[in-house]
């Protein structure tokens, strides 16, 4: 993926989330919401190293992963609205967006729940589609789950083509990382499973991308999994209405000053990309998002009885 495309993807995520935040505040969206703002460089840097056939698994904070993997903004927005035209026909909502056609195996609302699922997708890659890999996104909090340890060990011992991407945004809800683990770099845990563990600046999309490419290449070469820790920060609270008062203001200010999109934009300008060109991208994305909202708003609601469909595969 070219850097301009990566910039556009990051913007899509940012503006999508800003829109969703807005709509949420207006009470137009049911349920809860875990926004990805601030972490865009991780999803985009990693997914830019993948092909459309590769698989990913995601988390409760999954909008960014979907967009980076190439999901339709319209169908995402419609799902978040609980509409019939959404990815999951309104059955999944924000935390379960899935797009099988682009290898997006689903956001998952059990913290750490998708880690062994990614291992299984990795097994399919190894046995059925040797050219494919699986990227597994999860948070710092999830790395304290048994599934993390069980899953990474299994992938390691079977040399599965899985890239374990830990998005360390320093908090799991209100719990600071230092409260629940005695290490700073979660990538250290890789050593216990004899796989490479790498920590990268998760707000630097090119740095993430470079490490992701390395991990993907290893995986495609049959050299097994990598644990890639991306240090990042969420710009908003954990979920709906969380003012995130548990984070020291200096810490917030420091990270806000390192906005992954701003800094990437500066780099592009330094490279000689005309600002006008970036403006154009920005307005294109804005229009795409407006269209997505329009599509979602105008879409029909599911019928109540649709609740009974899709429970079983019925031949």
């Amino acid at each position: 993926m070219e850097d301009i495309e990566m910039y556009k993807k990051m913007l899509e995520i940012r503006m999508f989330e800003e829109k969703v935040y807005d709509l949420f505040a207006q009470n137009l969206i049911p349920g809860t919401m875990h926004l990805y703002m601030g972490q865009e460089a991780v999803a985009v840097g990693v997914c830019a190293a993948l092909t459309p056939n590769d698989f990913i698994t995601s988390t409760h904070r999954g909008h960014g992963h979907c967009i980076a993997k190439g999901a339709s903004l319209k169908k995402m927005m419609a799902e978040i609205f609980g509409k019939k035209t959404g990815y999951c026909k309104g059955k999944g909502g924000s935390m379960h967006i899935t797009d099988k056609n682009i290898g997006m195996l689903g956001a998952n609302a059990v913290v750490g729940g998708a880690i062994p699922i990614a291992v299984g997708a990795g097994l399919s890659c190894k046995l059925k589609y040797p050219e494919r890999v699986t990227a597994c996104f999860f948070g710092d909090g999830a790395s304290n789950q048994g599934t993390f340890h069980e899953g990474i060990n299994m992938a390691s011992v079977w040399d599965l083509p899985v890239i374990f991407v830990c998005e360390n945004n320093l908090y799991a809800m209100g719990t600071r990382q230092s409260l629940v683990m005695n290490i700073q770099d979660i990538s250290q845990r890789a050593a216990g499973y004899k796989i490479p563990g790498v920590t990268v600046d998760g707000n630097d999309v090119m740095a993430v991308h470079e490490e992701a490419q390395r991990a993907v290449a290893r995986a495609r070469n049959g050299e097994g999994p990598t644990l890639l820790e991306c240090k990042t920060y969420r710009h908003k609270g954990h979920s709906r209405f969380d003012p995130a008062k548990y984070r020291p203001p200096e810490e917030v200010a420091e990270w806000m000053a390192r906005d992954p999109i701003e800094s990437f934009r500066d780099k592009l300008l330094d490279k000689g990309i005309p600002e006008e060109f970036l403006h154009k991208i920005e307005s294109t994305v804005e229009a795409e998002i407006d269209e997505a909202v329009k599509f979602a708003e105008e879409s029909p609601l599911p019928e109540p009885e649709d609740a009974l469909k899709d429970v079983w595969v019925i031949e």
């Binding site: 990815y87 689903g106 997708a121 990795g122 046995l127 059925k128």
Partner: protein, 324 residues
């Protein structure tokens, strides 16, 4: 026709399905060539199909099932084994939240064609961590099919049907059903999921029995015949979807029902069967009674262990109390 044990029947089912479809892979602890499965169900399979398709796993129940879920979503048809039924507790998230719900939550986009095999059941003085019967846990989760064979013919045909089914199936075996011998044809067949079997025809009472209790009920029925009591025995075989038609038809015919399972009384499958009968054939029923395991963890000492599960004597007594 030849007679084989349930273990042999299950082994044949796995072998034949693996020959038929290269997407069928096995995952589990000690299922490979070194140990051949804790109860030898997977004997010889790694030798025939190789270690890519028969995978000895770490002792990581949640990852075993989770790996099966992810593999199933992406084109394989995994059969995962949990070495002892009680240990499904370690994998409940992957079974109940992931395998069962991912199709639904994705709006029907994905399928999870996997089988989770595990042996339940008391009788070996394995005590409370290796003996319970937990099949009822799974019927409460929409999206899971639940199967419980009682004999060799059904074990083979149901396992084949489960592997070919596109839904996740919890396949509940029993350690003391494993050794039961029965006639099994050489040629390929399946026992469709969701069809009960009338294991014995009779007039005076319907006994609905599952798993090892079918064998005990059959023996009790043979003895009761000498006392002039004619028992019909229905084995649901699949607990979800439950074959309500066969159960209701038999209950209507005899008007008296005794439901037997080894799992403890409270929260067992008997409650669900009772609900079905009361809903559908209440006015035909003279009596409905449940004979289940006692409400205790399975104890170690053989005298206690034997006492907590229904046996032939208790079955006969229960039938007589209803019929006479």
């Amino acid at each position: 026709m030849r007679e084989i044990t349930v273990v042999e029947a299950l082994n044949e089912a796995l072998r034949e399905e693996m020959r038929r479809d290269e997407n069928v892979v096995l995952l589990g602890e000690d299922i490979g060539k070194y140990w051949q499965g804790a109860f030898k169900v997977t004997k010889g399979l790694e030798e025939e199909f190789g270690s890519d398709r028969v995978r000895d796993t770490p002792i990581s129940e949640n990852a075993i099932v989770g790996c099966a879920v992810g593999a199933a979503m992406t084109g394989l048809r995994p059969v995962a084994e949990i070495m002892f039924g009680d240990l499904v507790a370690l994998a409940m998230d992957q079974i109940c939240n992931q395998a069962a719900k991912l199709r639904y939550m994705s709006g029907g986009q994905v399928r999870v064609p996997m089988v989770l095999r595990t042996p339940f059941g008391a009788g070996g003085s394995y005590a409370s961590h290796h003996s319970q019967s937990l099949e009822a846990w799974f019927i409460h989760v929409p999206g899971l099919k639940v199967v419980q064979p009682s004999n060799a013919y059904d074990a083979k045909g149901l396992l084949k049907a489960s592997i070919r089914d596109d839904n996740p199936v919890v396949f509940c075996e029993h350690k003391f059903v494993y050794g039961l011998k029965g006639t099994v044809p050489e040629e390929d067949y399946v026992v469709p999921l969701g069809e009960a079997r009338v294991a014995r025809e009779g007039e005076d009472i319907t006994i609905v029995a599952t798993s090892l209790m079918v064998e005990r009920a059959l023996r009790a029925a043979a003895a009761l015949e000498e006392d002039g009591i004619s028992c019909e025995i229905v084995d649901p075989r699949t607990l979800r979807p439950l074959d309500e038609e066969t159960l209701c038809a038999s209950a209507k015919k005899t008007g008296k029902v005794l439901i037997i399972h080894e799992a403890c009384d409270t929260g067992g499958i008997s409650g669900e069967i009772t609900k079905t009968l009361v809903r559908r054939v209440f006015y035909y029923l003279d009596a409905i009674e449940i004979l289940a395991g006692k409400d205790a963890p399975i104890p170690f000492a053989p005298v206690m262990e034997k006492w907590v599960a229904p046996d032939e004597e208790r079955i006969k007594k229960a039938v007589k109390e209803i019929v006479v």
